[in-house]
């Protein structure tokens, strides 16, 4: 299809007069007009007539109506297709219509919706996608975008080229279907389960849990049933009456045996008591016999001891008397030595007392001297303090007065300095005749003037000089003088010199006071009062009659007297101890002898005479013999009974065991019955819940889920295989698939960007440019290069379509705006090359730049409708 004319009216800026471009050439043509001409309106009108049914009334159509609403939007195109020329006329909105007319025969080929369909069929345009026009026609401002929207048409075109009857679009459709089917079970990128597959997987865990729970409950119930049977058997066994009777009989027999054993044990106990008594009696008899024999022996021993001690007593008495005499002599010698020592010690203490008093006396004198000096200093300090208090010439006050005095002097100097000075250099004549304030002046005289001064020049007249009034300086002087006066009054002086003398006097007083205070602190660190107290204390320590001039007693050596006393004391002590030992031995001997005599007297009294003693010994021996025989008889009987006694502990334990067993049996039976009730309740509960049936159902659910999951996973595996196989096949075919396009593009590309290859993606958009060894993604290229590749792609597609017999014009609306001058020239060349195969219509506002394009200029006119 090629365009040979386009006409439009009542579209945007074009009113009823409309616009018509006739005689559009088959090759390259250009419509170069300034902005606001309406080139984009022309472009949109073309898209409207090719891509929109005449009956459409959407916003896109309404947006084309002029503001003034001058009439029905109308577009007419003349096209060459299939070797014939047709006119397609479409009117939109109010008065909508469509018609296709064969311009050769004048026949109306189609009307209404048939006319829409005819045009779409002729151009390959489908409603919605725009068909090839969608990517071959570049709208203003979109020139950098890669071609899009024509994939179905191009697919078909290219598939035919590479001989694919089924492939391209069909393969995409199959691949999409497979991916879509897989997406029902798995998410796209992360391949996470989704949809029913996910539901089945998620349902499995709780079902498995439920199954486990039910299995556990079933096992529990089965165990309970088994336990219940065992329990029932146990209960039956333990409740057997014959068993109970036998048991009670055994228990009664054990009780009887226990009773008999207890009786025998009592009898044995009595016999044991008797035997023990007999044994005690025998012991007692033997003890009595032994006591008698011991007493006899003791009496004999005492008699011998008393006889031996009488001679030793006399010897001890003599020794004691001798020790008493020696001791008395030693004690007298000690008393004499002590008397000598006491006399010497008294004399030494008197000398020590005198020396102490003399030291106190000397100290007292020193302290009193210090106190007198301190008092004098204290008085002087008080007098100076009074003088300082009366002297107001402090350093600050004096400085203030001195400052004021300097201020007065300064103010005066300023006034003085401001007065005019006149110097007289007079001639001889002038010396007599010139007068200052009526006072004659002499040559060389200099005068400082104040107020008004008159210089009388004699016959020459007079000069009156008025000195400048220094009011401000005067005020300063007055203020300074007033301040000085106040300062002097404050100090109580008449002038600054006197103030200075007074200030110096005050400083001297302060220095003297400070010196005296330091001295006083040395003499009386704790104050005068403390010094007085110290003197008073020392005075009390002196004896009233102390005379320092009296000579002290001479010293005497006391060591010899002390040694004599120690020696006498040791001698006396030795004799005293020897005497005490002799006395103790003598008393001890006497006491022992006395005790032996008493003991012998007592034994004799108990045993009586010698004959009586022998008879009693015989009696006691006979008594022992009788008791021994009794005990022997009892022991024999005891042994006999002991060997015949039943084991009482065994009998007792036997009865207790029987009782415990009976009790345990009863308790056990009770427990079994309770356990039976519990198990029955548990089984009832399991039965009521239908655990077994529920378990079967959940088992079946789980199996069903697993089958479902297995089916989904088999689907996923098969779809994965299919998708992989298709993707792989597509990738391998892609190069061959796009070869016609890249071949068509290659010469144009070389013309513009130099040697290189553009790779096309599955969406038919250029995705990279390979130059030499480098491949650059389209997005990383400059705007100009992208635009050039975009336009070249369209030209290549357009050429290919034209070569395959389905030509569609390429229309560029204000494209190539990013090209530099060289590239623009190259693009012009590429356009001219492409235009040999495909109709190219260029709309531009760059009239000067595009004057080099070389295409045939289009000449828009008003649409004069016949």
């Amino acid at each position: 299809m090629k365009l040979s004319a386009i006409r439009l009216r009542n579209i945007r800026g074009f009113g009823p007069e409309g616009l018509a471009i006739e005689h559009i050439p088959d090759g390259l043509s250009v419509l170069a007009r300034p902005n606001e001409f309406g080139k984009s309106t022309l472009f949109d009108a073309l898209r409207l007539v090719f891509g929109t049914k005449h009956s459409a009334g959407g916003l896109a159509v309404k947006a084309l109506v002029p503001w003034a609403n001058t009439g029905t939007p109308e577009v007419e195109v003349d096209i060459h297709a299939a070797g014939r020329t047709f006119r397609v006329s479409k009117r939109y909105l109010k008065g909508k219509s469509a018609q296709v007319t064969d311009l050769v025969s004048g026949d109306i080929v189609a009307k209404g919706s048939d006319a829409d369909a005819w045009l779409m069929d002729a151009s390959g345009v489908s409603s919605g996608t725009g068909g090839p026009t969608g990517f071959l026609w570049v709208k203003q401002g979109r020139s950098m975008e890669q071609p899009a929207g024509g994939e179905p048409v191009l697919s078909q075109l290219l598939e035919q080229e590479v001989g694919l009857l089924v492939g391209g679009e069909a393969a995409r459709s199959v691949l999409e279907r497979a991916i879509g089917e897989r997406a029902k079970w798995l998410t796209g990128k992360t391949r996470k389960p989704t949809g029913r597959y996910k539901e089945a997987l998620e349902a499995r865990a709780p079902t498995q849990d439920k199954l486990s729970t039910l299995k556990a409950r079933q096992i529990k119930a089965e165990n309970a049933l088994s336990e219940l049977q065992t329990l029932k058997r146990q209960i039956t066994k333990q409740s057997d009456p014959e068993r109970d009777r036998e048991f009670k009989q055994k228990r009664d027999q054990a009780a009887d045996e226990l009773e008999a054993a207890k009786q025998a044990a009592n009898e044995l106990q009595i016999l044991e008591q008797k035997t023990e008594f007999a044994s005690t009696n025998l012991d007692h008899a033997r003890s009595t016999e032994k006591h008698h024999a011991d007493k006899v022996k003791e009496a004999d021993r005492l008699a011998i001891a008393i006889k031996q001690s009488s001679g030793h007593a006399a010897e001890l008495s003599r020794s004691h008397a001798e020790f008493s005499k020696t001791l008395s002599v030693a004690e007298n010698e000690l008393i004499e030595a002590e008397d000598v020592w006491k006399t010497i010690a008294q004399r030494n203490r008197a000398r020590e007392t005198f020396e102490n008093a003399l030291r106190a006396h000397n100290t007292l004198e020193q302290l009193e001297n210090k106190r007198d000096q301190a008092r004098a200093l204290d008085d002087a300090l008080r007098a100076r303090a009074k003088a300082i208090a009366q002297n107001r010439a402090t350093e600050t006050a004096y400085n203030t007065a001195a400052d004021c005095d300097r201020n007065v002097s300064l103010a005066k100097a300023r006034i003085e300095g401001g007065r005019p000075t006149i110097h007289f250099d007079l001639t001889a004549d002038g010396t007599d005749s010139v007068r200052l304030n009526e006072t004659p002046v002499r040559n060389g005289q200099t005068e400082s003037l104040s107020g008004t001064s008159v210089i009388d020049l004699g016959h020459l007249g007079a000069i009156t000089i008025s000195a400048t009034d220094h009011g401000e300086a005067r005020d300063a002087l007055e203020n300074a003088e007033l301040a000085l006066q106040n300062a002097l009054e404050e100090l109580g002086v008449r002038d600054v010199a006197e103030a200075e003398a007074k200030a110096r006097e005050r400083i001297d007083l302060q220095r003297a006071s400070q010196h005296d205070r330091q001295r006083l602190e040395q003499l009386a660190p704790d104050g005068l009062e403390a010094l007085d107290q110290e003197i008073a204390v020392l005075r009390t320590q002196l004896p009233e009659d102390f005379d320092p001039d009296t000579p002290p007693p001479p010293p005497v050596d006391i060591a010899e007297a002390e040694a004599a006393v120690e020696k006498a004391r040791a001698t006396a002590e030795n004799y005293r101890e020897a005497h005490a030992d002799a006395e103790k031995e003598w008393i001890k001997h006497r006491t022992r002898t006395s005790m032996n005599e008493d003991a012998l007297a007592n034994i004799d009294k108990e045993l009586g005479e010698a004959e009586a003693r022998s008879q009693k010994a015989i009696q006691l021996a006979e008594h022992v013999e009788a008791n021994w025989k009794t005990l022997e008889a009892l022991n024999t009987e005891l042994e006999t009974k002991r060997s015949a006694l039943p084991n009482l502990d065994m009998c007792t334990e036997n009865v207790a065991r029987m009782n415990r067993a009976f009790e345990a049996n009863q308790q056990g039976l009770q427990k079994l019955k309770i356990e039976r009730a519990r198990l029955e309740a548990e089984i009832d509960a399991a039965g009521a819940d239908g655990i077994g049936e529920a378990l079967n159902e959940v088992n079946a659910d789980l199996a069903r889920l697993d089958r479902r999951i297995g089916r989904y996973e088999a689907d996923i595996r098969a779809l994965d295989r299919l998708i992989d196989a298709l993707s792989d096949a597509q990738a391998r075919l892609q190069e061959a698939y796009f070869k016609p396009v890249t071949d068509a593009m290659q010469p144009l590309l070389r013309e513009v960007v130099g040697p290189g290859t553009v790779r096309l993606g599955v969406d038919f958009q250029a995705d990279s440019l390979r130059r030499g060894d480098f491949r650059e993604a389209i997005d990383t290229l400059s705007g100009g290069t992208r635009e050039q590749i975009s336009v070249l792609s369209r030209l290549a597609f357009g050429r290919l379509m034209a070569q395959r017999g389905t030509p569609i014009p390429v229309i560029l609306d204000d494209a190539l705006v990013y090209c530099d001058d060289d590239r623009l020239d190259a693009m012009f060349t590429a356009l001219n090359v492409a235009a040999k195969d495909v109709q190219c219509i260029v709309l531009t506002c760059h009239q000067r730049a595009f004057s080099q394009l070389g295409g045939e200029p289009l000449d828009p006119q008003r649409w004069k409708k016949p």
């Binding site: 590479v162 001989g163 694919l164 009857l165 089924v166 492939g167 391209g168 069909a170 393969a171 459709s173 199959v174 279907r177 497979a178 089917e181 079933q218 119930a221 309970a224 049933l225 088994s226 219940l228 049977q229 029932k232 198990l679 029955e680 089984i683 009832d684 399991a686 039965g687 009521a688 819940d689 239908g690 655990i691 077994g692 049936e693 529920a694 378990l695 079967n696 159902e697 088992n699 079946a700 659910d701 789980l702 199996a703 069903r704 089958r707 088999a714 689907d715 595996r717 098969a718 779809l719 994965d720 295989r721 299919l722 196989a725 298709l726 792989d728 096949a729 597509q730 391998r732 075919l733």
Partner: protein, 373 residues
Amino acid sequence: MGFRFIHTADWQLGKPFGQFPPDLAGELKAARRDVVQTIAATAEKLGIGDVIVAGDVWDSPLPARNTVVQPLEIMGRARSIRWWLMPGNHDPHQPGGLWTRIAKIAPPNVTLLLQPTSVEMRDGVVLLPAPWKSKAPGEDLSEWMDQAETSAGSIRIGLAHGGVKSFEADAIPLDEKRATKARLDYLGLGDWHGTLQVDERTWYSGTPEPDRFVNNDRGQILEVKVDGPGRIPEVIPHRTAKFEWLVVDAEVNAPSDFAELEKKILGERSGTEVLAQLTLSGRLSLSERQMLDEHISAIASRLQYLDVRDTALQTMATPDDLDALGQGGSIRHAAENLKTAAESASAEAEREDALRALSLLFTYAGTATGDRP
């Protein structure tokens, strides 16, 4: 003196049918309950007053409450019938278990046969049951019948559950001469779900409502007529099943075989009460397989359920199949790759995945082009 009764077994009430869609599983489960009503109606129609059930009345020893109560209510309502229920291996009697529960709620016309002792059904008719008390008794429970004493001239009817042949190493089978050894006039057996005559006096009744795809006679009860002691019983099967479980094997090698499938599966039947298992064998091309799938889909839509087993059916892409996908292009390339993968796969799973992918490609390509490849 003659005696007529119904012999049935293996009701397995409460059995789940998890391999089926939930709705159908519910219907199948309900059918097992409803067959009790059908049995009652059949007995009443035949004027029979006794129904003996040879074990596996319930599918589980711990069935749900309604699974227990509802059939008992149905039995209770059939007042003219006395129901004799015996535990089997699925529902063994254990003290405190299922049968203890049933004993508490069973209607008066239901007798539970829980002990191996003779029970007088009617004057001169003695029933000798061999109830199960555990899932693995480890003995022939019918052995006691040999020594069971009954009044002279009584009709002796034995009732037992289990196989006459053991399929498990530790299971003890029933003695298939038991009827003779125990002087039984009739031995009613349960456990085998199809109707089976063991000898002239010994029968398996089979389940009254089938529950699996097995090609044997099932879905019926037996009317048993014993004219007197020592007489050979007369046994007449009566159909009770609601659903028919068909097992169909078919070899398909060409589309001309497809029509036969429909005849085999449906015949003159109403498909709504038919469940079928179709096992296919043979060899088809991809396009033929697609046609077969559509054919089977059409049949399946008329049935309650159709289980197709096609592991023995070889589906291979023929040159014509591939040509139908075009002479070149990515679809053809992908198809050839998948075909090669299927043919060279060492693992069965891998081969199946590749074949399934190829089949999907064939289906999608047909949809994509709008034509059958």
